[in-house]
C-alpha cells in the first residue's frame, strides 16, 4: 500500500498511555470508541485542580473557591465554544447516558407518546426513551444500516421527539442528522443528537445543525470519565422538568417553597464533578487546537484504510460494509470467520498476541446483533493519535489469524 500521511502523528507524544507495553511490546490502542486515552494536558489540568485549587464552586467567598469557580465556568465556556453554543446552554452531566435520561425524564411524556429513533442506537440512547415513552425505531437492512430516509413514514400524531446518533458506535457511519432535523422541525418536533462518538471525529456546530438537544461524554473526547455534557437550546432546557433537587440548583429556599436557578445550573444539583469538568475543558481545547477539520480528514482516511483492508481479508464481514467510505469515521465492526475462535476470543488474541486493544462483544447494541444473528463482533476504532501504520498492523494481524 502507498504510505499515507499522518498529519496528527505528532500527537502521539502527548499520550502517556501509548507508552504502555504488554509482554514487553508497545500497545496499539484501537478502542477509543469505548474510551479514549488522555493527553498529558488533561491529566495536568486535573492534577492542577487537586494540587492548587481544591474548593467548592459557587459557594465560598474565599480565593480558592473563586479560582475553582473560574476554572469550572471556564470549562463550560470551552465546551460551549467547541459546540458553537453559549455557556448558558451547557449542562454538565456524568456522561451521555445521563444527558439522555435527563431529557427523557424532563419532557413529561404521556402514555402512548412516541420517540422515533433507529434500531442501531446505543442502549444509552434507546432504553431511556423506551422507559419514558414508546420507542419507534426505523428498521435495519441486511447490512446493518438503518434506512434513514424512511423516518417520515414513522411519524404519527403521537410522535414527540426524534433521537439519533450522529455517528453510530457500531457502524461508524455518519447519519444524515440534518435531514432528520429538517423533517422533525417541519412538524415542530425536537431532536436529540447523540454525539458520544461523533464529537471525537467531526466538527460540531449546534447552531448550524439546529438540533434541540445534544449529548456527549468526556471520556471519549480525551477527557476524564464521570463528566459529560447536555447541550440544549435555552427555551428547550427551560421547559424540562427538574431532574434532581438539592444544593447548587436553588436560588432561594424558604418555608413556602423554593425557587430554582435558571438553566443550566438548575440541572446541576449537588457539588459537581469540578475536576472532571476542568479536564473536559482541557480536552476539548486540545482537540480544537488540532483543528477539527483536520481531525475529521484524518478519521476519514483511517476509516477508509481500515474498511478497504478488511474487505480484502477472506472471512471478514463488516457491519454496514456497503456504506460509502466518505461517510465513515475511523471505526469498523466486523466478524472474522476464523477456525476455532469466537469473536470474543478473537479480540483476546488480538490483545494477547499482537498487543492490539480492540473491543469484542456486543457494544451495547444487542438489537443489531440479534437481527443480524451475530454472536458478537470485534470493533476497531481510532482517535487522533492513531496512524495508518497501526491500521496496517491490525490488518496484517487479522490476515494472519484468518490464515490459521
Amino acid at each position: 500500500m502507498t504510505p499515507a500521511p499522518d498529519p496528527l502523528a505528532h500527537t502521539r507524544a502527548d499520550f502517556p498511555l501509548l507508552e504502555r507495553t504488554i509482554d514487553g511490546r508497545p500497545i496499539v490502542y484501537l478502542d477509543s470508541a469505548s474510551t479514549a486515552p488522555k493527553p498529558r494536558c488533561v491529566i495536568d489540568a486535573i492534577v492542577g485542580m487537586y494540587n492548587r485549587h481544591t474548593a467548592n464552586v459557587h459557594r465560598g467567598v474565599h480565593v480558592l473557591s473563586e479560582e475553582a469557580t473560574e476554572a469550572f465556568e471556564g470549562a463550560r465556556a470551552e465546551v460551549a465554544s467547541f459546540l458553537n453554543a453559549s455557556p448558558g446552554e451547557i449542562v454538565f452531566t456524568r456522561n451521555s447516558t445521563e444527558g439522555v435520561n435527563l431529557v427523557a425524564h424532563g419532557l413529561g411524556f404521556a402514555p402512548g407518546d412516541e420517540v422515533v429513533l433507529t434500531a442501531l442506537e446505543h442502549h444509552s440512547n434507546f432504553l431511556p426513551w423506551r422507559m419514558a415513552a414508546r420507542a419507534v425505531p426505523v428498521g435495519l437492512d441486511d447490512d446493518g444500516m438503518p434506512p434513514y430516509d424512511e423516518v417520515e413514514r414513522l411519524f404519527s400524531p403521537r410522535t414527540r421527539l426524534l433521537a439519533l446518533a450522529q455517528v453510530s458506535n457500531t457502524t461508524g457511519v455518519v447519519a444524515p442528522v440534518e435531514q432528520w432535523i429538517a423533517a422533525a422541525h417541519a412538524r415542530g418536533l425536537p431532536v436529540l443528537v447523540d454525539a458520544a462518538q461523533s464529537a471525537s471525529h467531526l466538527p460540531i456546530d449546534v447552531r448550524a445543525l439546529d438540533c434541540d438537544f445534544l449529548v456527549l461524554s468526556g471520556h471519549k473526547v480525551l477527557g476524564p470519565s464521570g463528566i459529560g455534557v447536555l447541550y440544549g437550546k435555552r427555551e428547550r432546557l427551560a421547559q424540562l422538568a427538574l431532574y434532581q433537587t438539592g444544593g447548587g440548583m436553588v436560588r432561594h429556599h424558604g418555608d413556602d417553597g423554593f425557587e430554582p436557578h435558571d438553566v443550566p445550573q438548575r440541572f446541576e444539583a449537588g457539588t459537581p464533578n469540578i475536576e472532571g469538568a476542568v479536564g473536559l475543558g482541557a480536552a476539548l481545547s486540545y482537540l480544537r487546537g488540532l483543528d477539527m477539520d483536520a481531525v475529521r480528514a484524518h478519521s476519514l482516511a483511517l476509516g477508509r484504510r481500515l474498511v478497504e483492508g478488511l474487505q480484502g481479508i477472506p472471512g471478514v464481514r463488516i457491519i454496514a460494509g456497503s456504506a460509502p467510505l466518505e461517510r465513515r469515521i475511523g471505526l469498523a465492526t466486523f466478524t472474522l470467520e476464523a477456525a476455532g475462535l469466537s469473536q470474543e476470543s478473537l479480540a483476546r488474541v488480538l490483545c494477547d498476541r499482537y498487543q492490539i486493544i480492540a473491543s469484542g462483544g456486543y457494544h451495547c447494541a444487542h438489537i443489531l446483533h440479534d437481527r443480524m444473528k451475530l454472536a458478537g463482533t470485534v470493533r476497531v476504532s481510532t482517535h487522533v493519535f492513531n496512524t495508518h501504520a497501526e491500521i496496517d498492523f491490525a490488518l496484517a494481524a487479522l490476515r494472519e489469524i484468518a490464515a490459521w
Binding site: I22, D23, G24, A339, G340, L341, S342, E344, S345, R348, V349, D352, R353, A403, W404
Partner: protein, 431 residues
C-alpha cells in the same frame, strides 16, 4: 536416556519438540545432546511462560505435520482463551480427547476418583462461572443450559459472597436432582456452599468423591467441606487449562504426578530464599501434538516429598508433599525468606472462628491481615491473629489486623490469600 518407557517418552517429547515444533527452534542450540542424562538436558533449557503462549498460540506449539488449520476445520481443536490480568491470561489450543485422557489418567492415583472416572459418570462443577474455557455461566441460565452431557455447571455468580438463600437452595436442589458421582470444585466456593447448607439444614447430595482443583485448598475450606460431606473422600487435584491434570492426591495424602500425559520438573528456589525442597512446577506435556509444552511455568510452587517412598506404594513420576500456592502469592519473612501460601495457611487457618483471610505485605516488615470472622469470634480473632502472623514472619514483624464483612475474589474468580504491594521479581528466586 531411555532406560524405561516413561523416560523414553520424555526423551522423545524433548527431541520431538526441539526438532519439529516451531517455537522451540531457538532452544535447540541449548540442548547438550542425547548422550547427556534427561534431567540435565531439560535443566539446560529456558522456562516457557504465559507470555510465550500469548505471543505464539496457536501455530507456535503445533508439531510439524499437523496443521492447526485442518485441526480447526475438522473440529479436533479449538482455541480457548482464559481471562484476567497478565498473570492469568493465556490462549490455549484445546484438544478435548487429550484433556479427557489427562483427567482419566490423573484420576488413577486415587481409588475413589479412579472408580468414578473409569466409566460413565455424572459430574457437577462448582467454580467461578468465568473459569470454564470459552463457556460463561454468569447470569440466570436455566439448569438445562448449564448441563452439558454428563456435566452440570452449578454456579452463576462471580462472588460466592453474593449467593443468597435462594441460590444456595437452587444449587443444593440441582445436586440432589442430578446426583453427580463427583463434584469438581474450587475449594473456596464449595466451602461457602457447604457452610450455608449446614447452617440452613439443607440436605446435600453426597457424591462418591470430591475433587478440589482450580486453586489452593485452605484448611478453612477443607474444614467446612468435610463437615458437609462426612466420609466422602476429598481429593486434591492439580492442573491447569494449559497442562491438563498434573498431580493428584493419593489415599496417603501425598500428590503423585500423572506420568501418562506430562513430565514435571520442580525447579528449586534458591536455598538462600527458602527452606526445604520448594520449587516451581514446570510441565512438559506428553502425547498432544497440537499443543506441545516444554517446561511450562504454570506459576505455582510445590514441595517435593523427601525420604521414604509413599505409603500408597506408587513410585513412578514425582511425589510432592503439597502444592504450595502461586509464586506471585509469595510473601517474605522479615529476613527475606519466602513464605508460601501453604506455610501461611498452616500458620493461621486453624484460628477459631476464622472464615476467610488475606495477608498483604507492604514492606520488608509490614503485614496487614484482613479477615472475616464468624459471629461472636471477632474479638478473639483480633487478639489471636497478630501473634500467629509474627510467629510466621518474625518477632520484629509489624502486624495490623482488620475485620472485613467479606473478602472478594480477583477478576479471575480466585481468592488470593496473600500478596505483596511492592514489586519484586519472581525470577530472582531461581537465578
Amino acid at each position: 536416556m531411555a532406560s524405561d518407557p516413561y523416560s523414553a517418552r520424555c526423551a522423545a517429547a524433548l527431541e520431538g519438540a526441539l526438532a519439529a515444533v516451531p517455537f522451540y527452534r531457538g532452544w535447540r542450540a541449548l540442548d547438550p545432546g542425547p548422550d547427556r542424562p534427561a534431567a540435565e538436558r531439560m535443566a539446560a533449557l529456558p522456562v516457557l511462560s504465559r507470555a510465550d503462549l500469548r505471543a505464539h498460540v496457536p501455530d507456535g506449539f503445533v508439531r510439524s505435520g499437523f496443521s492447526a488449520r485442518d485441526g480447526f476445520a475438522a473440529g479436533e481443536i479449538e482455541i480457548v482463551t482464559t481471562s484476567g490480568t497478565t498473570a492469568d491470561r493465556a490462549s490455549v489450543v484445546w484438544h478435548q480427547p487429550w484433556w479427557d485422557r489427562s483427567l482419566r489418567e490423573a484420576a488413577r492415583v486415587h481409588p475413589a476418583l479412579e472408580a468414578v472416572y473409569r466409566g460413565p459418570h455424572r459430574e457437577a462443577v462448582l467454580t467461578s462461572p468465568m473459569c470454564t474455557g470459552n463457556l460463561c455461566h454468569v447470569g440466570e441460565l436455566p439448569v438445562a443450559e448449564r448441563t452439558l452431557g454428563n456435566l452440570l455447571f452449578l454456579n452463576q455468580e462471580l462472588d460466592p459472597a453474593r449467593w443468597d438463600a435462594a441460590s444456595v437452595r437452587r444449587m443444593a436442589d440441582e445436586l440432589n436432582g442430578f446426583q453427580p458421582d463427583v463434584i469438581e470444585a474450587d475449594p473456596a466456593y464449595l466451602a461457602v456452599l457447604a457452610r450455608a447448607c449446614i447452617r440452613s439444614d439443607t440436605p446435600l447430595h453426597q457424591p462418591a468423591c470430591i475433587s478440589l482443583t482450580y486453586e489452593f485448598p485452605s484448611h478453612l475450606h477443607l474444614r467446612e467441606i468435610r463437615r458437609a460431606f462426612p466420609g466422602v473422600p476429598v481429593v486434591s487435584s492439580y492442573g491447569s487449562t494449559e497442562t491438563g491434570y498434573v498431580f493428584t492426591e493419593c489415599e496417603a495424602g501425598l500428590l503423585h504426578q500423572n506420568t501418562a500425559t506430562c513430565h514435571v520438573d520442580i525447579q528449586p528456589v534458591r536455598d538462600s530464599r527458602s527452606r526445604g525442597r520448594l520449587g516451581r512446577i514446570l510441565v512438559t506435556t506428553l502425547g498432544n501434538p497440537w499443543f506441545e509444552l516444554l517446561r511450562f511455568d504454570v506459576g505455582d510452587l510445590a514441595r517435593l516429598h523427601g525420604g521414604a517412598p509413599c505409603r500408597c506404594g506408587r513410585t513412578d513420576g514425582l511425589t510432592v508433599e503439597a502444592i504450595e500456592g502461586r509464586a506471585r502469592d509469595l510473601t517474605f519473612d522479615t529476613r527475606g525468606m519466602a513464605v508460601t501460601v501453604r506455610q501461611l495457611d498452616d500458620a493461621i487457618a486453624a484460628a477459631d472462628g476464622l472464615l476467610a483471610y488475606r495477608i498483604e505485605q507492604s514492606g520488608p516488615r509490614r503485614y496487614a491481615v484482613r479477615y472475616v470472622a464468624e459471629d461472636g469470634a471477632e474479638e478473639a480473632l483480633a487478639a489471636a491473629l497478630p501473634p500467629l502472623v509474627r510467629d510466621l514472619y518474625g518477632p520484629d514483624a509489624e502486624v495490623t489486623a482488620r475485620r472485613e464483612p467479606t473478602l472478594a475474589p480477583e477478576q479471575s474468580g480466585k481468592f488470593r490469600l496473600a500478596l505483596t504491594t511492592f514489586e519484586w521479581n519472581v525470577e530472582e528466586l531461581f537465578a
